[in-house]
């Protein structure tokens, strides 16, 4: 019997680092020393929403022929590093090395349907599902290995892709244990999870492997995909949201632009397919100059946008009403402040790109959409196709920051592919279209009113938020895709999408006895959808600016004032942390520090920020010194 070495985890990690320089790691750790077996604790809690339709182990991971593991996630890589994060979690629970785990991200028919990659939910949903599935798999692999090796589980060592006995040199890799089968059992509680003090990857800053691919200019983005015989296309967007195509004269197109393969016209949808990419740019320019469109209504004047928003808003809806705000405002001075945010575009560095190929039966689509399954539903509904006949593969694009135009570019490519089968069609949007047709983050107004009590704390608070929808993401409603509104039988967009995003974080995380939040919804002039953090960008900025102002009215230090209104110990800790971080800052004449605290969605991550600014007293211009 070989005793397990009594080394600490730290020691073992150090040993690995040293040994890996000279010779293969796997052999070395088995020949030199047995690793300690990490302690595990049973998890008996709830499973993430992502597991509702993917509750079996093999939905999340499968063992490859060489004994390594392939992990499946329905989330997409946007530059947030989800691929490596999931790899870390899987390797941790399965006691594997990172390169023994491959992560396959979103592809219909292959990975779980996890909806959109949004709302900072990929770790809590996808990575946690992988964690529970991996821990379950580990347990099952141990049990099966115990039978095969005729050794009790307690006498097995499970490490770096092998299960070996403590008493002999017999070992099996995962593929050998499973004999070609996969683990198709349900993930159920209790799940034996590794205790977090034993982690070797999770919580550690592991570098993302894709950055080396980027610097080496490997084909990483959808824009870099090239298929044999691939052709290029662009879509001629209408003149305005409500414009209809009146006339298109394409007679001189082929004489003017070489390489034109086909023009596709369907109602007010106009696409052109060419051999080369720049030919498509020229062709769409030609078509623009040879087309007539009806004009739509004019937009409200930019300078009147906030007045306009208020004029078209519905009656206020009560979102929260704690205590009695009117009483809290009675017989005392109240303070008011108003904040506005203009329409903001996603402004992705790379305009949208979509690739599609219809092979006569299946429509294959490559897209940098944030939600390939919901997008598939929308495209199926737009094309009146069975969604099982549409196969979508997620490929990274430039950062999107929400629902950008990626889905629309995929829809463009899908329409054109059906019209020109058996060829990969690559649609690249122009910068101009990207800006004009973006589903903007809505303009917003936030008006705040508060009163202070004799103790210098906030007695009553009222938030009024004016907002349009923050999610018109693709779903079963085909009109969530731009093209649907311009096809021969157009479908108008009816639903307003997710409205709660508008008052996200509009109720301060602070303890205030009397608090009221009202939402004023409007159906604004521009196409809108999700943009990073939805309404929180406006609501947190407004609340935190107002908190600094109230602290001044109360004659309190801005951080002390916040601390006096916080009960959650993590919130308190993060505010104290920023105070420590700023304690050695020296303020010169005209300099000051502004603070902000928030807990995203009031349920997720805590953050604080301090901004040191400098005011030029002669001009009143405020400049940032440091953050």
């Amino acid at each position: 019997m070989i005793d397990l070495p009594k080394t600490s985890r730290r020691k073992f990690l150090r040993n690995i680092g040293y040994l890996s320089i000279g010779f293969p790691l796997l052999n070395s750790c088995f020949s030199e020393k047995d690793p300690t077996v990490a302690a595990r604790m049973n998890y008996n809690g709830d499973f993430p929403g992502s597991m509702r339709n993917a509750s079996k182990v093999n939905a999340w991971l499968q063992v490859l022929e060489d004994g390594r593991v392939m992990v499946f996630s329905g989330k997409v890589e946007l530059g947030q590093g989800i691929r490596m994060a999931i790899c870390q979690v899987a390797a941790e629970e399965l006691d594997l090395e990172l390169d023994q785990v491959e992560v396959h991200l979103a592809e219909t028919g292959l990975t779980p349907d996890e909806g959109y990659t949004a709302g900072s939910g990929s770790i809590s949903n996808s990575a946690m599902s992988v964690r529970y599935a991996a821990a379950t798999a580990r347990q099952k692999l141990l049990e099966l290995a115990s039978i095969k090796l005729n050794t009790p589980v307690e006498d097995l060592i499970f490490y770096n892709g092998k299960v070996k006995t403590k008493t002999s040199n017999q070992s099996l890799n995962f593929a050998e244990i499973l004999d070609g089968a996969q683990i198709d059992m349900e993930v159920t509680v209790p799940v034996p999870l590794k205790v977090n003090t034993e982690y070797r990857y999770v919580g550690k800053p592991i570098p993302r492997t894709e950055i080396e691919k980027m610097v080496r200019a490997e084909a990483y983005y959808i824009q870099d995909m090239r298929f044999p015989g691939m052709v290029h296309a662009r879509v001629l967007r209408p003149k305005g949201y409500l414009s209809k195509l009146v006339k298109l004269d394409e007679s001189g197109l082929s004489a003017e632009v070489s390489g034109v393969i086909k023009t596709v016209i369907n109602g007010s949808f106009v696409g052109v397919i060419t051999e080369r990419e720049y030919q498509a740019v020229k062709a769409v320019g030609f078509l623009r100059n040879h087309s007539e469109w009806t004009s739509g209504p004019l937009f409200p004047d930019q300078k009147d946008i906030y007045t306009h928003i208020k004029s078209i808003a519905d009656h206020a809806q009560s979102i929260r009403n704690d205590g009695n705000v009117s009483e809290g405002f009675n017989s005392t001075e109240t303070f008011k402040s108003a904040y506005t945010k203009p329409y903001l575009k996603h402004g992705s560095m790379g305009p949208a790109c979509g690739i599609a190929m219809y092979d006569g039966e299946i429509l294959h689509i490559w897209s940098h959409s944030q939600g390939i399954y919901p997008m598939r539903s929308a495209i199926a509904s737009m094309l009146k196709m069975d969604k099982e006949k549409i196969h979508v593969i997620a490929v990274p694009g430039a950062g999107c920051f929400g629902h950008s135009t990626a889905d629309d570019a995929a829809a463009d490519a899908a329409i054109l592919a059906l019209n020109y089968p058996n060829k990969h069609i690559r649609v690249q949007w122009s910068r101009e279209d990207e800006h004009a047709w973006d589903p903007f983050g809505t303009a917003m107004i936030m008006e705040l009113e508060a009163s202070l009590g004799e103790d210098g704390k906030i007695k009553a608070w009222k938030s009024d938020v004016w907002t349009d929808s923050h999610s018109m993401r693709p779903n079963n409603d085909a009109a969530t895709l731009l093209d649907t509104r311009y096809l021969e039988n157009p479908i108008e967009l009816k639903a307003r999408g997710y409205l709660a995003g508008g008052h996200r974080n509009a109720d301060p995380y602070y303890s205030i006895p009397n608090m009221q939040v009202n939402a004023h919804y409007f159906d604004g002039p521009l196409r809108v959808s999700s943009l990073r953090s939805l309404g929180s960008y406006t609501t947190i900025f407004s609340i935190e600016s107002f908190m600094d102002a109230l602290a001044e009215k109360a004659g309190k230090d801005p951080l002390e004032f916040r601390l006096a209104h916080l009960e959650d110990e993590r919130a308190i800790a993060v505010v104290i942390k920023i105070r420590e971080m700023c304690s050695s800052e020296i303020l010169n004449e005209g300099e000051g520090i502004g603070f902000a605290f928030s807990r995203y969605k009031n349920t997720a991550a805590y953050s604080t920020v301090a901004a040191k600014v400098w005011v030029d007293m002669s001009t009143g211009i405020v400049q940032k010194s440091s953050i």
């Binding site: 610097v215 290029h232 560095m349 950062g399």
Partner: protein, 154 residues
């Protein structure tokens, strides 16, 4: 269509295309290079930068006909033949100076161009040299750290 002989990454390439075709489209579509990226087509974002005779320039508004005998280096041409990365590339990996990474090509090319002229730039000089390179993910702090690291390691 006219033929153009271009000097790309140390080799001669012959391309058959219209004279007004931007260099970016020639590099990506005809020569199948991935480094230079299409971002705006208006010389405003820097994603499409290449080195032309050692200087970082945007390739989206330069026609193929205007390149002549100039030597063009793309991101692909920075590593040495044995695959060893250029110090700037290495530093971008070490500092993990990317989120989505779409701007990375331009950032790297502008940095190489800067270090060609000034081997030890200060922070302000780095910011000046990368003035026209946009990053939407706000990775700027890491990018600046990467350039400083590259300057040290070159």
């Amino acid at each position: 269509m006219p033929k153009y002989t271009l000097h790309i990454n140390g080799t001669e390439k012959v391309v058959d295309t219209e004279p007004e075709t931007p260099l970016l489209y020639v590099l990506r579509d005809y020569l199948e290079l991935n480094g230079p990226k299409f971002g705006c087509g208006l010389s405003q974002c820097g994603s499409c930068m290449v080195l032309v005779d050692g200087n970082a320039v945007t390739s989206c508004i330069r026609s193929v006909a205007s390149i002549g005998a100039s030597k063009v280096i793309t991101l692909e041409g920075l590593a040495s033949e044995n695959g060893k990365l250029h110090p700037v590339q290495e530093a971008f990996v070490e500092e993990q100076a990317a989120q989505c990474g779409y701007c990375l090509n331009g950032m790297v090319m502008a940095s190489v161009s800067l270090l060609n002229k000034n081997s030890n730039p200060g922070e302000e000089e780095i910011k000046d040299a990368l003035q026209m390179n946009l990053c939407r993910c706000s990775t700027h702090t890491r990018i600046i750290k990467a350039i400083k690291r590259a300057a040290k390691n070159q």
